[in-house]
Amino acid sequence: MTREQKRNLVKGLLFTAPWILGLSIFTMIPALMSLYYSFCDYSVLNPPVFIGAKNFTSLSTDAVFWKSLNNTLIYAVVALPLGTVMGIALALLLNQQIIARPLFRTIFFLPSLVPLVALAILWQWIFNGEFGVLNHALSWFGIDGPNWLTDTTWAKPALVITGLWGVGNSVVIYLAGLQDVPRDFYEAARVDGANWWQQTRHITIPMISPVIYFNVIMGTIGVLQIFAVPYVMTGGGPARATLFYTMYLFDQAFRYLNMGYACAMAWVLFVIVAGLTLFAHRMSKGHVYYGGA
């Protein structure tokens, strides 16, 4: 190594020193510890005791674990596509030649600024079975609304609706993607007689496919860790209908002090997240078009 290279190495290490420390102390070592704890009986009050794969075998027969995983996957399968379609649809609306576009964009974006605890409390009130404004609105159409949050059938849909209210963040991202699509593409298509739907289907969607891909990946990772809103709104009830994965993990770790068990759950979650991301990556080949970016 030349003197110059050595000097650069020292400089580089100095600038990244806080991060190298942070990466080791707050990420790498904890990740390894977590992996170790997942094979231990560990209550945090006593030192961990190695028990082999027992946490994982217990998980496989834990009905509440399966229930929480099932709830989370159902929620993800419904909420993600709905959120994606709605996000793109609203962005397409905003991308028309309209006046006051920034105003409408702000209106759609505002709800995603609401802190989750406040958001949960607000929607709890809207979904109130007796005095809630949603059931009142439904009564205009002669519909007798359910007791949303205390009904095992309706609690999950209620949470999906709550989640959709925060779609504005992805609307902003999609809109930015849409505005990057070159105008001439549409003009050429119009000359060829393509209608609005054909233009959307064959130009817009392929051109913003990297943005969709990014949003779907980030959305998947986020939705599998949903915690604050259901914790505040339903506490996991009724009859565990809204007990999501991270909530059960949190209960195991900090309510029952089964920290080893919680770590085992966390690693199962990691494998699911990694698997889904890999799957999305495979799926994206041939469907995501990077020419425009």
């Binding site: 190594m1 650069n8 190495l9 400089k11 580089g12 100095l14 600038f15 806080p18 991060w19 190298i20 942070g22 990466l23 102390i25 707050f26 790498m28 070592i29 904890p30 990740a31 510890m33 704890y37 945090v44 609203l90 609306l93 905003l94 309209i98 964009r105 759609f108 505002l110 709800p111 609401v114 802190p115 989750l116 605890v117 406040a118 409390i121 607000l122 929607w123 709890q124 009130w125 809207i126 404004v133 009142h136 504005g168 902003v172 991202i173 930015a176 943005v211 860790q225 915690f227 604050a228 914790y231 993990l249 919680a262 770590c263 966390a266 690693w267 979650l269 990691f270 990694a274 970016a293």
Partner: protein, 290 residues
């Protein structure tokens, strides 16, 4: 002549179609605007109602008279100013720590060439894949070892040791600054730190603003962190305090809950209106440049 007429007819139908499209677009925009704004308005109006105006199956749209004292009552009951102070303090510490440490690291990853740099950067990106629950338990054990459980430290100290996502964002921005700009300074014998502090940081003000804003929002919003580490009621943040208040008064004092919620939302919305440009740019950036 006939051909010209048919052309005109065509143009005519096209315009009607266009007008219809226009009307449909604005109708849809208005419809969704009402849908998105209504819950916020409903929170505000509910916060100004009396209990009698809430527990009625015939909703009251405009409280009369507006019960402004609900806000006074809730700030007293909730220990509001204390929680607000705690939250703001955490925000200031976290934003300072994040912006400082992440810009230092991003500089090291973008503007100095050193062996091992790119490998370390790949690892950095890789850590973004780790879901928080994986780290939750060992971090708790670690902070318990430090004697930090029940203090604010677990919530702000890590911010001074940077975070992968923000490093990534800032690095992207730093790389767009032309190398020639700083090369001249090197020739003049400027130290690397002076280049960082006096040239790069001022140039990157907008990117730093974005990182700071998002960091502020994340702390203001954070519920899980305070829930894990804070046990003394005097140390609660607004999010945790509001949740505690809800679990005690839920179902009874809805007007007070909505007042507390409004007070928690208001600063964020005010901040948004002052920094709208950075906000929107930042969000667009996160989605597009990865």
């Amino acid at each position: 002549m006939a051909a010209r007429e048919s052309l005109e007819v065509d143009a005519g139908t096209l315009t009607t179609q266009r007008i219809l499209g226009r009307v449909a677009t604005y109708a849809a925009l208005l419809f969704f605007s009402v849908l998105f704004l209504f819950p916020l308005v409903w929170m505000l109006t509910t916060s100004l109602k009396s209990i009698g105006e809430i527990n009625t199956s015939q909703p009251v749209w405009f409280p009369s008279p507006p019960q402004w004292e609900n806000y006074k009552i809730v700030t007293a009951k909730l220990n509001f100013w204390r929680y607000a102070l705690n939250t703001v303090m955490l925000c200031v510490l976290t934003v300072t720590g994040t912006v400082l440490s992440c810009s230092l690291a991003a500089y090291g990853f973008s503007r100095i060439k050193w062996p091992g740099r790119d490998k370390l950067f790949i690892i950095t990106l890789g850590t973004m894949m780790i879901p928080f629950p994986v780290l939750m338990v060992p971090l708790y054990a670690l902070f318990k070892e430090f004697g930090w459980v029940g203090t604010f430290k677990p919530l702000w100290v890590p911010a001074f040791f940077a975070s992968a996502y923000n490093i990534f964002l800032l690095r992207q921005f730093f790389m767009t600054i032309p190398q020639d700009l700083t090369d001249a300074a090197v020739v003049d014998g400027c130290s690397e730190f002076r280049i960082f502090w006096q040239m790069i940081i001022p140039l990157a003000r907008s990117a730093l603003m974005v990182v700071g804003l998002f960091c502020f929002m994340a702390v203001w919003n954070d519920f899980l962190g305070p829930l894990i580490y804070l046990s003394n009621e005097n140390d609660f943040t607004l999010a945790l305090g509001l949740q505690a208040f809800q679990s005690q008064h839920g179902g009874t004092d809805t007007n007070l809950l909505m007042a507390a919620g409004s007070v928690m939302v208001l600063p964020v919305i005010v901040l948004f209106f002052f920094t709208q440009k950075s906000f929107i740019e930042g969000i667009s950036l996160t989605g597009l440049k990865l």
